[in-house]
């Protein structure tokens, strides 16, 4: 039969072939084609066995994994417990950029050739979520290629593993040229039964949106992911192409400054500290209009801080807050700002879908209720560092709870104070004692039911206190030529081992 090739493109490229040298989600998703983790996400993002066939907690801080037998690496080496231990050790090396991905793991011990224990700092409910992002490398290959130590894109350490990959995954890397393209060929000895029919994947990054679309339309590509929103209509209406879309896990929200002063009004009390003001800001935004006009009906408006598939989501939290400019004005007046106040709004313009447009719309809506908004947008390169330094009054945040895919990530990063490893992205200094407590309890709760309840409760408090103003769930939109079937996932990963081409 003729070789089935899938040619596809995305705006970003693979950073490195060393899975422990980086923390980039796109590269992680690409390397998943080459490596397997112990547990992986299935067709519905559920955790399922991969290189481990089963697991149990032998102690609250020790998990035992039974490994799959007869698995071979691409170079023919057999897969054993030694590989897992070597991989975990490599990832735990202080020099590993991705060490934070398993921050709670303290070590791995070989029990026998096909059994491994993984030890955590204490009870840790999200170990499997974390392990889904830990790809297993080949110990012998690493020894042979002097790659036992991890690479690190930050410190500039490279090893043979940075440009060569030897995994157990469904595809092998044939060639890897930054910005020009990476070619994968099928691994005929994959342990799993392939659900794809591909022989070859040609990945070509194309940074420019318009070019990516054009290349699809001219027949040079089979799949583009993502496809720019404003072109979906045209692609959909061209014969021979179709658009596939789904809401993504990524939630777009506005972060509010909880410091004593606003940058826009130095020397005065920060009006945003008043709950009524925050509610007014929320009521003043016409999310329906944004959805219809800016997002072309592709987004899903939301009232909470996590997407439905993510643990911690609750329908009760998600109801719309309601667009009501009159009420907003009233609330402002009640709070003592009858003629509004001044604030700055900062947004990236190349990070989220139509980010700048959304912000202009919001600035305009706020101005109408009296909140004079000075908008500044900039590139992600300068935007995020400034956001991290807390330089903004109101700013746009996107959160997808990745990689763990769990509501706990919102609590731990966005809703807690910046200390003890918490509050990593909470530069706006929101703080609520109840949430602090719930977060710390949920962190060690192994009972999934209880844990979820805590998440839901914390997120309800966040909504009630208007910690953030959630806007919507971004869509994931891809475009393919007819005959290509690729399943989409809300985490925006492209998993081509589910793809078929005709």
């Amino acid at each position: 039969a003729e070789a089935k090739t899938l040619r596809w493109s995305s705006p970003t490229d693979i950073t490195t072939l060393d899975p422990y040298a980086h923390t980039e989600s796109f590269t992680t998703s690409m390397l998943h084609h080459v490596f397997d983790p112990l547990v992986r996400r299935g067709r519905n993002l559920e955790l399922e066995p991969a290189l481990a066939v089963s697991w149990k907690t032998v102690k609250p801080d020790t998990w035992r994994f039974e490994l799959r037998r007869d698995v071979k690496f691409h170079n023919g080496n057999p897969f054993t417990a030694d590989d897992v231990v070597a991989s975990i050790n490599r990832l735990l090396d202080p020099g590993a950029r991705a060490r934070g991905n398993i921050a709670t793991v303290t070590g791995a011990q070989k029990v026998d050739d096909y059994t491994v224990d993984i030890v955590t700092k204490g009870p840790y409910p999200l170990l499997l979520n974390d392990l889904a992002g830990v790809y297993i490398m080949d110990k012998e290959w690493m020894e042979a290629n002097d790659a036992l130590k991890p690479g690190n894109i930050a410190t500039g350490v490279t090893t043979a593993a940075s440009t060569q990959a030897n995994g157990t995954g469904p595809f092998k890397v044939e060639s890897y040229k930054p910005d020009a393209g990476t070619v994968f060929v099928v691994n005929p000895n994959w342990w799993d039964k392939p659900r794809h029919n591909l022989d070859r994947i040609e990945f070509k990054p194309i940074k420019s949106d318009a070019t990516r679309v054009a290349a699809l339309l001219s027949g040079e590509l089979d799949l583009i992911a993502p496809a720019p929103l404003q072109d979906l209509q045209r692609i959909g209406s061209s014969s021979g192409f179709k658009v596939i879309e789904e809401p993504s896990l990524r939630l777009i929200m506005l972060s509010l400054n909880f410091r004593p002063e606003l940058k826009a009004m130095p020397g005065q009390k920060n009006p945003i500290l008043d709950l009524k003001v925050r509610q007014a800001m929320w009521h003043a935004i016409d999310f329906e209009a944004i959805k219809k006009r800016v997002m072309r009906d592709k987004s899903r408006n939301t009232g909470t801080l996590v997407a439905p598939p993510v643990p911690g989501y609750s329908k009760d939290n998600d109801g719309p807050f309601g667009y009501d400019p009159e009420k907003a004005k009233k609330l402002l007046a009640e709070a003592g700002y009858p003629s509004g106040f001044k604030t700055k709004l900062n947004c990236p313009n190349d990070r989220y879908i139509n980010d700048e447009q959304i912000c202009v719309a919001i600035a305009s809506m706020w101005t109408k209720v009296g909140i004079q908004t000075e908008l500044q947008t900039e590139s992600r390169a300068t935007y995020f560092p400034r956001q991290d330094r807390g330089e903004f009054d109101v700013s746009m945040v996107g959160w997808a709870t990745l990689p763990p895919m769990d509501g706990f990530s919102v609590l731990a990063s966005l809703l807690t104070e910046q200390k003890e490893g918490y509050g990593g992205s909470n530069a706006s200094t929101y703080s609520n004692p109840q949430i602090e407590e719930l977060t710390r309890k949920a962190a060690v709760e192994l009972d999934e039911e209880k844990r979820r309840a805590m998440l839901v409760e914390a997120l309800k408090i966040a909504r009630d206190t208007v910690a953030y103003i959630p806007i919507h769930q971004q869509p994931v939109a891809w475009a393919v030529r007819d005959g290509v079937e690729v399943p989409q996932f809300p985490d925006e990963y492209v998993r081509l081992w589910f793809a078929t081409v005709k």
Binding site: Q233, R234, R293, S379
Partner: protein
Amino acid sequence: MNTLASAPRPVPRSLLSRIGAPISVIVAAALALAIVGCALMASWIAPYDPTDLASFELINAELPPSFTADGDARFLLGTDNQGRDLLSAMLYGARVSIAIGGGAVFVAATLGVVMGLLAGYFGGKVDAVIMRIADVILSFPTILLALLVSGIARALFPNAATAEWAPLILICAIAIHEWVQYARTVRAATMVETAKDYVRAAKVIGLPSWRIMLRHILPNVMSPVLVIATINLAAAVLTEATLSFLGVGMPPTYPSLGTLIRIGNEFVFSGIWWIALFPALTLVILVLAVNIVGDWLRDRFNPKLRVKR
């Protein structure tokens, strides 16, 4: 006996023909003036104030021009993706673009000409220093220089409003990069002119160097400068759009012509052609007109060509 005979031609000559400009130049000048004039008076003639955030509705976004089948009578040229009246946005945008483009070209050309004259006239160490500074500048793309300039400006004036400072920052950022082109061109021409007898004659008179450079050499090296300047006008307007996109320029609530073109470009695929087309047309017309007038001016600079037509 005296043959300096003013031929009997006392036909009254109109002002225009006295200037001696052909129709095309007059039309071009009129167009350029019209665009600049409209831009300057944007706040009076624009039907809406696109910089007033409260004045537009997202619901009106992407309405086609009023003269098309499903246009809206309120918006002559349609609306942009935020529901702003495109005509008003263009008028205000042209003001920004002309100020920044014109300003940047002016600053860059002035600086470049001065540096080029110095380097070409004095040669030796002066030349080496100026040209190596130029090489340093050339090593940085405008984008980085703009980030640097705006970063420093922001550090110095943390509370300055962006919309007011942005044009200055942009002019600086673009000019800092662009002067080199003028400098090197002028330097090359100056090296040639400096060896000519008229410059030597000026030296013998004892004129100071600056005077020789400005009065004697400058008019003789201006012609490539004018060419580059008129062309760079377009480039500067477009650079402004790029820089604004990077967040060092005008805020998105105050779009320039270039920004409108950039935004509009994203929508061309989906059949929303007017957002890009009208601003682009304005820019093309402006650049074309400026170049035509520039050409003519340049020819007027050359006395040998002056009396022709």
